[in-house]
Symmetry: C2
Subunit: 221 residues, 2 copies
């Protein structure tokens, strides 16, 4: 049934909390608080800008979210430090089970479907060695809207030439899972922290603790 | 210049953190954590549902957010407790300076422009004694979308028959301030907590600590 797989990137394939260390280096004692609020604001800004009709790409949104976060916590931010912290987004750690999970998913087409603009996702995919295993990166930047707008999820359909339910969309983000399921994908939730499902009126088809467990469930189905 | 005033309700005229006490009664030691996460999830769900095209009214979104919050914190929630906590939304405390600020704003038309559906905002406005001072309540429910979609802010223009910049929109929520300014209103930010401005590419016209300070600034302008 599953003919293609579309992966969210940030939080799903790549650990966004691996920025914490860089934040901690620059602001001792504040690394955890910065990385947590930064991620929250990054998402909020992506949602709000889309609702307002004021799209800017995800790199810019991520920068803005960092600037707000440092100001809110009361930390001084010069341009060099901001740049240094932002660059960690090009070097995020990939989760350890990714390559093995990809292998289990076999010859199905595999794409990344991300809020990130290509200028920020492609260097990461290259650097982490995932590029050779992928059939491409699709970015929300192409439609000038962020998830959970259906137009963003639609990019995978367009690119793969499949029906919605033939695509397994995989994300670790509960809100992204809801958006993708609402769109019509078959959806796997990488629920690393064992969270309850978001109360948005839809549920994932698979609720698993990591990518390997999902790949095994799909391979055995 | 300012011919009409549109007020956000929750957080601006009414203190949403006054639900904390009821949460604390039912879940001792967790009141603050519940009310903080509940508010955050309520907003997230309003944004995400609008983006996904799965509108449900704000009462339902608020209920869903409460259910998620209790599950996430690991607290048991029976229907009677949920109902009891939800009802505090019909009895929120009004900020103490509201009536005096309204008086200072003089004979200008005054409306509430809220995400809340009329079934939840009207009983609150009645009970708090504000109804007699208002020219009406406008709800996002009318357009089936939540802030920061321009269609929601547009309700005030339609209702008051004024130009965008002739309307002073007042909110304590930084994200709502950004949405309203992006729409084209003159905007006053009731920045009770002295927060930095959200990094969304627009700024409030007034940044003041409470409604009285804003009314004084406008009266003297």
């Amino acid at each position: 049934m599953i003919e293609g797989v579309a992966f969210d990137a940030y939080g799903t394939l790549y650990d966004v909390y691996s920025v914490e260390q860089k934040c901690e280096e620059n602001y001792p004692g504040n690394g955890a608080a910065i990385s947590r609020m930064w991620r929250q604001k990054q998402l909020e800004y992506s949602w709000l800008r889309t609702l307002m009709g004021r799209y800017e790409n995800f790199w810019r949104v991520t920068q803005d979210a960092l600037r707000y976060t440092l100001a809110d916590i009361g930390l001084k931010a010069d341009a060099a430090v901001l740049d240094e912290i932002m660059e960690t987004y090009l070097k995020l750690e990939m989760y350890p089970e990714v390559i093995e999970a990809f292998a289990l998913l076999g010859s199905r087409k595999k794409v990344i479907l991300t809020n990130g603009n290509l200028e920020m996702i492609e260097p990461l995919v290259e650097r982490s060695g995932l590029a050779a295993h992928l059939d491409g990166c699709l970015s929300a930047d192409e439609v000038g809207l962020f998830k959970t707008r259906p137009e963003v999820y639609g990019l995978a359909i367009e690119h793969m030439g499949l029906e919605k339910e033939q695509v397994l969309f995989i994300s670790s983000n509960g809100w992204d899972v809801a958006g993708a399921k609402s769109f019509g994908f078959t959806v796997g939730w990488i629920n690393r922290a064992g969270k309850p499902a978001e109360e948005l009126g839809v549920r994932a088809d698979y609720d698993v603790p990591n990518l390997l467990a999902l790949a095994q469930a799909v391979a055995g189905s």
